[in-house]
């Protein structure tokens, strides 16, 4: 029994290792994955801030903006990392993995964990700019944020696997990102607080797992900078509800993606 678990961990490790190796090896991807979010934070954040007179807000706009951009970046990173499945299928390497004696559910778990790791690395790098944004931050908070990042990016990675595991061509990914990922991002509350949005939008956002992820990130990252009442003005759900929904979503989507991948062909 012990041997079996050992073997499973080893196979998970191989798939994970390759995923992370490719991410780190690809210098351009690595650089752009951090560069764009920082660009958005610095330029777009500062620009949007000037539109809002500071007298209305009792918080800094960048404080509001940061958790959203962090959440979106890691989500997009997680989903696009799972594209390696389609890449591997198109260039044949998926066959090498599928004909090895490891089980398909392990392949999928390894892929999800690999994508989660790449998102986590990106999240940590983005967090390095926190001191320059005027947010208060302790080590303990850092760990809490990492925990939430893991929750969010795992779910998005599993969702990515679920969506791409049947795709045969790379170009199809743009359809996935336009039809599914883009609406999720716009309805996540990353760019504006959903609380003040029209009712139909709020209703739709109730079914958006990413909205819970962004809310959770906002709760945690701002917890040492703003008072609870102030954060609750910026979020739709309570932290507790967010964490429950994220956990439940992760559980279900893992199950679904394993199921879909089991039926996919090389």
């Amino acid at each position: 029994m012990n041997k079996r678990i050992n073997k499973r961990i080893k196979t998970l490790y191989v798939i994970w290792y390759r995923e992370v190796l490719i991410y780190l090896r690809n210098g351009v991807k690595f650089f752009t994955s951090i560069f764009l979010p920082i660009l958005i934070l610095v330029f777009l954040g500062t620009g949007l801030k000037t539109m809002l007179p500071s007298s209305i807000l009792n918080y800094d706009f960048v404080q509001f903006f940061f958790p959203g951009i962090l959440g979106l970046s890691i989500s997009i990173m997680a989903v696009s990392s799972t594209m390696s499945i389609v890449w591997d299928r198109e260039f044949g390497f998926l066959k090498e993995i599928l004909i090895s004696p490891i089980s398909r559910s392990d392949i999928i778990l390894g892929k999800i964990l690999g994508a989660t790791t790449t998102a986590l690395i990106q999240g940590i790098l983005i967090m390095l700019i926190i001191p320059y944004l005027g947010l208060d931050f302790s080590k303990w908070l850092f760990i809490k944020v990492i925990f939430v990042i893991l929750l969010v990016s795992y779910g998005m990675a599993a969702l990515g696997v679920f969506l791409v595991s049947r795709l045969k061509r790379m170009e199809s990914f743009s359809i996935v990102s336009q039809i599914i990922i883009a609406p999720m991002a716009f309805l996540s509350g990353a760019f504006f607080p959903l609380k003040n949005a029209p009712a139909w939008m709020i209703k739709m956002a109730y079914y958006n797992p990413l909205a819970y992820g962004i809310d959770a990130l906002r709760w945690v990252t701002l917890s040492e900078s703003l008072a609870k009442e102030e954060i609750s003005l910026l979020t739709t759900h309570s932290l507790f509800l967010c964490l429950i929904v994220l956990l439940a979503f992760n559980f279900v989507i893992t199950f679904l993606s394993v199921r879909v991948f089991n039926k996919s062909v090389y």
Partner: protein, 354 residues
Amino acid sequence: MENLSVEGVEQIEKTQNNTSEVVQVENLKKRYKNITALDGVSFSVKKGEVFGLLGPNGAGKTTTINILCTLSQPNSGQAYVNGYDVVRQPAAVRDSIGLVFQETILDSHLTAEENLYLHAMLYGVSRKEYLERKRDLLKFCELWGKRKAKVETFSGGMKRRLELVRALIHNPQVLFLDEPTIGLDPQTRKKIWDYIFSLRKKKNITIFLTTQYLSEAENCDRVAILDHGVVVSLDSPENLKRMIGEDIISFRTEDNQVAEQEFREKFPKFPIKRVGKELRVKVNNGDKFLPILVKAVTPRIISMELRRPTLEDVFLEITGRKIREDNKEINKEEEKFDLSSLFSIFGSLNKKDE
């Protein structure tokens, strides 16, 4: 190398006494939507043998290999590899086989060594064995100096050799090679075969291969010819060639029709066939028959050739066409967008496990 081959021959003889069959296929059938790929294929491969599966494009070679290595499942029939059922014990089958596919399936982002390492990990090879075999095999295939280079910098022949090395890292009992030399230039092809055959002698493993190049199949111990999803003949290349006669004379004249007519009248015993612009005659003593033939035919002879039969002739005889004549591949309908596959994930969730 000389020592190696002597040792190899002894080993092969040893295993031939042991009649255990490594691959066993019984009445295999596979249908795709509207094409029958395999229509009752049966054969078996003995231990230590080099077994060739020949056939034109679309004959079912790749389908057979895919079923044997558990990548696709047959509609009916049985297949066993190393005694494991390919449908019921896929993991055990995969553990005991090495594969080289038609297309290159290396990870080109990674180095040669990293590719081998991932493979060894996937197959649970211990570190010590991995290092040992890696060194051995890379040196054998003359890739040792390139082990730290990224695969994207490799030539086609080098990639193929690396795939061979990779397929052997977990010490499989059977090596499946699906068109291992396709798309390579003749020199590289020859070299790849040299590696394959000396590896076979060195490691004494069973090799199961498919190829379109019939000259390459001459080296197989036994050959099965597959056509329209059925095995049409199975024997050693020598026996197959013996089956169709001794010598072949092919000649072209200015008027083939008249020449054919005359030939039939004068030598009713010998079969004559028109193949393209040539006339083809099968005789026993070709060298002596040539002058007789020249006198017997009145239309002026443009060219004339005498040769021993090859597997190509066997193939022509059995299937009625040249192996590489019809290169029409079965084209799957190209979808413009992949939306259907995206939505099919929702469909597949409703279906119960088959």
